[in-house]
């Protein structure tokens, strides 16, 4: 017989071994919410029933850990994140290369690379400010509550980032906040958060995102402007009549025979970058999963 909600969650976790880490986190969070709500409700209605008996009754209705686990596994098997649906590739290398334009994952990754710049700057400032103020306030009485608030905000941001990663990169991430015990005193809560490597991995991610976000953004802007310039050269020279390159006040012209090459070069460069972006997106998703999802 299961004696406490914590025990149920432990058993459920064991049952879900081998499942996607994000699924496990969702399942634990759902079960905890439900069991606590049901327990409070039942104890109010029938205060004479012991907690153990009440829990027994609730679990009977909710389902044993193995029943619950199989329900999640079953549904998870049928739902795949939108963008992760693999393309069937039996086409030539060329059509696969240019087929990137029809791949939603490539566009998602491209958008993510732009957003990563903004989120990266924000995460970095948030993490630095939070850490610095928590440490310096530690001299005063309000340092600890401040640190608690900061750690909680890190958890929230990790969940939010997970939603972004799943939406744009198609990597399955948790949809529910991480399960935390509710009946802890705030000091214990702080200790629990500070001892949890998940918190520190999330902070590490916030720093890494700053560096990566900047690199992604620079890459994006550089490649985009090069590609567009190449494609634009014939039009500038023919329609506006300017030489495309200017050096020491002398305008240089590209010869007419090079126009097709320039336009093709521009398109090729951008297509290559789209392919690269898709790869980067997958790698970034894997890193996010490793750092932001507990196992």
């Amino acid at each position: 017989m299961i004696k406490s909600i914590e025990e149920y969650l432990e058993l459920l976790k064991t049952e879900l071994q081998g499942s996607d880490a994000a699924t496990v986190q969702d399942a634990l969070s759902d079960a905890e919410d439900h069991l606590r709500a049901a327990l409070v409700n039942l104890r109010e209605k029938q205060p004479e029933v012991s907690e153990e008996a009440a829990l027994d009754q609730i679990i009977e209705q909710y389902g044993s850990p193995s029943e619950t686990a199989s329900a999640y596994v079953e549904v998870e098997r049928r739902t795949i994140p939108q963008l992760s649906r693999a393309h069937i590739n039996n086409e030539s290398v060329l059509s696969r290369f240019f087929g990137v334009y029809t791949d939603a994952r490539a566009w998602g990754a491209l958008l993510y690379m732009l957003i990563a710049f903004v989120t990266g700057v924000f995460y970095f400032s948030w993490a630095v400010t939070g850490l610095a103020t928590s440490i310096s306030f530690a001299l005063f009485i309000f340092g600890l509550p401040f640190a608690l608030l900061f750690f909680i905000s890190v958890r929230g941001l990790a969940l939010l980032e997970g939603r972004l990663v799943e939406g744009l990169l198609g990597v399955r991430m948790p949809r529910r906040p991480l399960f935390t015990q509710q009946n802890l005193k705030w000091l214990d809560r702080l200790k629990e958060l500070a001892m949890d490597r998940h918190t520190w991995f999330s902070i590490l991610y916030m720093f890494i995102q700053f560096v990566l976000g900047t690199i992604y953004f620079v890459l994006f802007v550089t490649v985009l402007s090069f590609s567009l310039s190449f494609i634009a050269i014939p039009f500038i020279q023919e329609i506006l009549g300017y030489g495309a390159v200017m050096n020491n006040n002398i305008r240089y012209y590209f010869p007419t025979w090079s126009y097709p090459l320039l336009v093709f070069g521009g398109i090729f460069l951008w297509t290559a970058f789209m392919n690269l972006a898709r790869g980067i997106g997958q790698l970034h998703g894997r890193m996010a999963k490793a750092l932001l999802v507990t196992d």
Binding site: A31, D33, A71, E74, E76, R175
Partner: protein
């Protein structure tokens, strides 16, 4: 010997796989306010009476998957007692889908009824 309770459970589970989505969408369509998981489970308990058709724990993954397909949306709100709760509401896409699904269910029901009766 045939292990009939186990077979029946398996049959029940397979039936539930599709019906749960229909039931959850219908419940959330009927109620005007968003509901949280435990509330939905309680309501279904009232509907099913003594017979329990599905474990409450099995409702949650279905809620997730409906949300993932944009048929439901959810938001977390603080509660007076205990942890914050996730409230689910049906989306307009969900309502449209529900109409289609109810049609499918009606046809399915009459088909199964005819098959059982043999008429």
């Amino acid at each position: 010997m045939v292990d009939s309770p186990a077979l029946t459970r398996k049959f029940q589970k397979e039936l539930n796989a599709g019906i749960a989505s229909l039931v959850l969408l219908s419940v959330l369509d009927k109620t005007k306010k968003p509901m949280y998981g435990y509330q939905i489970a309680k309501l279904l308990e009232d509907y099913s009476g003594d017979a329990s058709f599905m474990k409450q724990g099995a409702l949650y993954p279905v809620l997730h998957s409906l949300e993932n397909s944009a048929l439901l949306e959810s938001k977390v709100e603080p509660s007076v007692s205990g942890p914050p709760r996730r409230y689910y509401a049906i989306t307009s896409e969900g309502r449209e889908t529900l109409v289609v699904w109810q049609g499918v269910w009606k046809q399915m029901k009459s088909f199964v009824d005819k098959a059982i009766k043999g008429a």
